[in-house]
Subunit: 213 residues, 2 copies
């Protein structure tokens, strides 16, 4: 932003930006990503098309920013409550790894089940698989920062001896995040807290019979 921008102009820009985000998030739910146009977003937000083109190179970039903003809003509203929002929270460290992971996985399931998140998130995830440029931005700005929170929590657990020293933590976290994301995106089963718990337990302890300690 130019330093000379007057306060009124900044406020107007901020209002426009939020109106554009709201329009994009509403439209992607109503008509889907493929049929969502910059023209329709501009009309709904009450701004000129050129305003949108000046701020975002594509509708994918715009939707990604709108979704990231949605996550930040939810984080602000939730205050310090852990494990409650899209990618914005530290994973709790109570010393009980199983309980901490279940808490975050259950919160993630609640988000996938929330229509406010489902439509834009699904559009970004699926379109990113087809469009490598959008996919790279989605992974860099949204996915990997959220997975890094798991890496941080798992590293503490590994240092405390609760995860085997040989385990690659970036791969380990995929054992529960991968299945959950696929089940959500492909609609191959119910998204329940019990399912979240099972994934965490299977990943931590394995599915083969475990010898008694």
């Amino acid at each position: 932003m130019a330093q000379k921008t007057a306060p009124d102009s900044t406020r107007r820009s901020e209002r426009s930006r939020r109106a554009i985000y709201d329009a994009a998030l509403a439209l992607v739910g109503e008509v889907g990503y493929a049929k969502m146009t910059i023209e329709a977003i501009a009309a709904r937000a009450g701004v000129g098309k050129q305003t949108i083109y000046r701020w975002w190179p594509s509708k994918g970039d715009l939707l990604l920013d709108a979704f990231l903003d949605l996550g930040e809003q939810a984080a602000r509203e939730a205050g310090e409550k852990a494990g409650q929002s899209v990618t914005q929270y530290e994973i709790p460290d109570t010393g009980d790894l199983e309980a901490d992971l279940k808490l975050v996985m259950r919160a993630t399931i609640d988000e996938f089940r929330n229509p406010k998140y489902d439509a834009p998130w699904r559009a970004l995830a699926a379109e990113g698989m087809l469009n490598p440029a959008l996919g790279a931005e989605y992974v860099e700005k949204l996915l990997e920062p959220s997975l890094q929170l798991y890496v941080d929590r798992l590293r503490k657990a590994q240092e405390a001896g609760h995860i085997a020293a040989s385990v690659d933590l970036r791969i380990a976290l995929e054992l529960w995040t991968g299945p959950l994301a696929m089940r959500w995106l492909q609609r191959t089963g119910e998204l329940t807290h019990e399912y979240a718990d099972q994934l965490v337990e299977y990943a931590l302890y394995g599915i083969t019979p475990r010898p008694a300690p």
Copy 2:
């Protein structure tokens, strides 16, 4: 097919069908699913648009059939070699569950890395996440039959005492298939045989330190 169809007509239909499949598989790789049209498929296959519309209700159904046919062709060419093709093989049962799962996972990675499979498979998987009707067909005709092969193999292992009796097998298989599919679709890491092996090992034995037996 009507019984009165003359052999020549059947052969012509079969040739047209294969030309249409080849055109769809080539086009989805060249222009992507969104820009692939029935018109372009018909022109490339040398058939009338009406032929395609008579046989398939949508381009998604056509591409799904073309991809299933590709898998069947590969299965026929590979003969009895286990774990070599898209969804078409029994998973081997050598009595060594870890080795059998690694074999199939490595073969799946080889398929994801094969451009012939990648483009149509990716299109079907990602578009199915956005279009629930196509998604349901993809899951029913392609995904779940392939996952059922894992369930069958895991059930034998469970009966032999190699998997804990309490484990839900349909969820267990997601521990390795889910991460692999997400990594492939989201391009979040290398698809190597070592990665396949790690997923199988983590899922079977867990990531927490295992007491000695």
